[in-house]
């Protein structure tokens, strides 16, 4: 099948957005892409929310770069589980990100310089409110579904309680109802790596013409470890030594602190690649949004009380080897939904790839999402108004 070529679009919002922190963000832009055709009443619209390092470029190939394939292209597209021959799919770059929507790299009109550390700290809920405004402008009253994995799943969950009437289905994959202390700890290590990089300059590194590359690399390396399972790392790398002509005999240790094992080489490569395109302030901001996400907090920790406001039906899925957001975390969500009496299906996918599995093509996983979206499509076609 020929790849879908997509162009990103841009929407400007002059009206300030009130944020959870008490601050407000005035005059901002959101970058988004759409796939498929809207039906007459836009009831076939699906919003895809992105995770930490992804963007609005969900599917297809960028018009300006044929190498740039969408991060969820195996999930969204013509004939894919979220079939764009039926659904009008929208990917939006979150505020504070570094892929085109207003963020720390953008020029602050008040100073004429990039926001840098002055960009307000955002929450998942702030993102959802900004996405709802985009939906208003696009004329979408109610999404057929809001979906996402990991941090994207948190946005989908937040949608279900902040705008109960504006989505029929909530699809939250490989996610958690709040971060654990261990999750926050990993985020903090990543942030410390960035904040203590001498080239961070208190977040004003743009003005110095440098990038806190070392900090970003370490942040990415530690993040990446949490995305993979022990088994998948063992299978992919094991204790294999890096091919290197400097070895006297193949398999000899070199007794240095340079790259010795394949896993080290891989992590360094991932880190270096990431540091070339990702913004350090954005990394801080998005990990903080993850830390703060805790919808049950307002209800004394009782998630079911909060989810009782939801009107959507839910599909929750987790992966057996995901230890970042393990199946137990998804089961917490399911249990709360059951207690709240919401419609919910839960699939626990037996996949070896850890947290990353939500981005990969697993037959059972994709079959479940496909079947679920067929049900969503049938409802739209039938005009069914389920509870």
């Amino acid at each position: 099948m020929t790849a879908l070529t997509v162009e990103s679009q841009r929407m400007r919002f002059a009206e300030p957005l009130a944020l959870a922190s008490g601050a407000a963000l005035g005059d901002y832009e959101l970058v988004y892409e759409t796939y498929g055709e809207p039906n007459a009443d836009l009831s076939n619209a699906v919003l895809v929310c992105h995770a930490l390092n992804a963007s609005h470029h969900v599917a297809g190939v960028s018009a300006d770069n044929p190498q740039d394939i969408g991060w969820w292209d195996n999930m969204v597209g013509p004939g894919k589980p979220v079939d764009t021959r039926r659904f009008f799919v929208i990917g939006v770059n979150n505020l504070g990100s570094c892929f085109g929507s207003t963020g720390p790299m953008s020029i602050n009109a008040a100073t004429g310089k990039p926001y840098g550390p002055d960009f307000p700290v955002l929450t998942v809920e702030d993102w959802v409110h900004s996405q709802a405004r985009l939906a208003d402008r696009l004329g979408i009253r109610q999404f057929a579904a809001v979906m996402g994995g990991s941090l994207g799943g948190m946005q989908a969950l937040a949608w279900s309680t902040l705008y109960p009437e504006r989505l029929r289905h909530c699809v939250a994959i490989a996610t958690a109802p709040r971060l654990s202390a261990q999750n926050i700890a990993f985020n903090e290590v990543a942030r410390r790596a960035i904040l203590t990089d001498p080239e961070f300059h208190g977040g004003r590194f743009y003005e110095h013409g440098v990038v806190p590359s070392r900090g970003l690399q370490v942040a990415r390396m530690i993040g990446h470890i949490t995305y993979l399972s022990d088994d998948s790392m063992a299978e992919k790398f094991g204790r294999a030594l890096r091919d290197n002509t400097e070895r006297a005999h193949p398999g000899d240790y070199r007794f240095t602190f340079d790259v010795e094992f394949e896993i080290e080489s891989y992590l360094r490569y991932q880190g270096e690649k990431f540091a070339r395109y990702f913004d350090a302030n954005t990394y801080l901001l998005i990990t903080r949004a993850l830390d703060y996400f805790d919808p049950a907090r307002v209800a004394g920790g009782d998630l079911s009380q909060v989810l009782a406001h939801a009107r959507a039906s839910f599909l929750i899925a987790s992966f057996t080897t995901d230890w970042r957001f393990a199946p137990e975390r998804s089961r917490e969500i399911v249990q709360a939904l059951l207690k709240a009496g919401r419609r919910v299906s839960y699939a626990e996918i037996n996949a070896p790839h850890g947290h990353d599995a939500f981005l990969l093509e697993d037959p059972q996983y994709h079959a479940i999402v496909r079947a679920y979206f067929e049900r969503v499509a049938a409802e739209i076609a039938g005009g069914a108004d389920e509870r």
């Binding site: 089961r331 839960y346 626990e348 479940i368 079947a371 049900r375």
Partner: protein, 206 residues
């Protein structure tokens, strides 16, 4: 209405006979938890024809997928891992059809069932069927429609006769509300201990 009559009426025609009978015992609008729900046929029927709501619980990937395909809400979970996810008394009826014999902790499963719903319904294969006795007399382990497995590949762990099972319910202080017996899909009245291939019980605590 007998199973035959209801099947003739067409409403439960596509349901397995024990499920068709179970469906008739479930009141309109009931909140139902179907443990080991298979492809979700019972819940699908109950929601379309009886206005029931509820969830299936299933461990098998293909069956979970089948449920999602037909729009039945399903939770992928091993019922022996416990039913703690489902609050006490959250359902009107909890169903376990033709699966109890394959559980490891049969007693625990039944006890938990009696916690999550006011009423439980269980269907089991009757090991006391005359053919099984005959087969063993002939020197072979029985293989039948309800238990189509060889001795070396059977998932069944805890097989019981009708009388065994009734004593078991009594020991767990579960009182029988209704019982029915099927022989190859048809209801029977006389000599169920010998003639029934399946037995279906509805029970409640105390």
């Amino acid at each position: 209405m007998s199973v035959e009559a209801s099947m003739a009426a067409g409403t439960t025609a596509r349901l397995r006979p024990d499920l068709a009978l179970i469906a008739q015992w479930i009141p309109h609008g009931a909140r139902v938890l179907d443990l080991g729900c298979g492809d979700g046929a019972l819940l699908d029927y109950l929601s379309r024809e009886r206005g029931c709501t509820g969830y299936g619980v299933e461990i098998d990937d293909a069956r979970v997928l089948a449920c999602v395909r037909r729009g039945v809400d399903v939770i992928q979970q091993d019922i022996e891992a416990g039913l703690g996810m489902f609050g006490a008394g959250a359902f009107d009826v909890v169903v376990l059809s033709m699966a109890l014999q394959a559980t490891h902790q049969t007693e625990k499963v039944l006890a938990e069932m009696s916690q999550v719903a006011a009423q439980g319904i269980v269907s089991i294969p009757n090991f006391g069927h005359w053919y099984h006795a005959w087969s063993i007399l002939m020197g072979r382990m029985p293989v039948s429609r309800e238990m189509p497995y060889q001795w070396y590949d059977t998932p069944n762990l805890h097989l019981a006769t009708v009388r065994d099972f009734e004593q078991f319910l009594a020991r767990l202080e579960l009182s029988i509300l209704r019982r029915a017996f099927l022989a190859n899909g048809r209801t029977i009245e006389r000599l169920p201990g010998l003639r029934a291939t399946q037995a279906i019980y509805s029970f409640r605590r105390g």
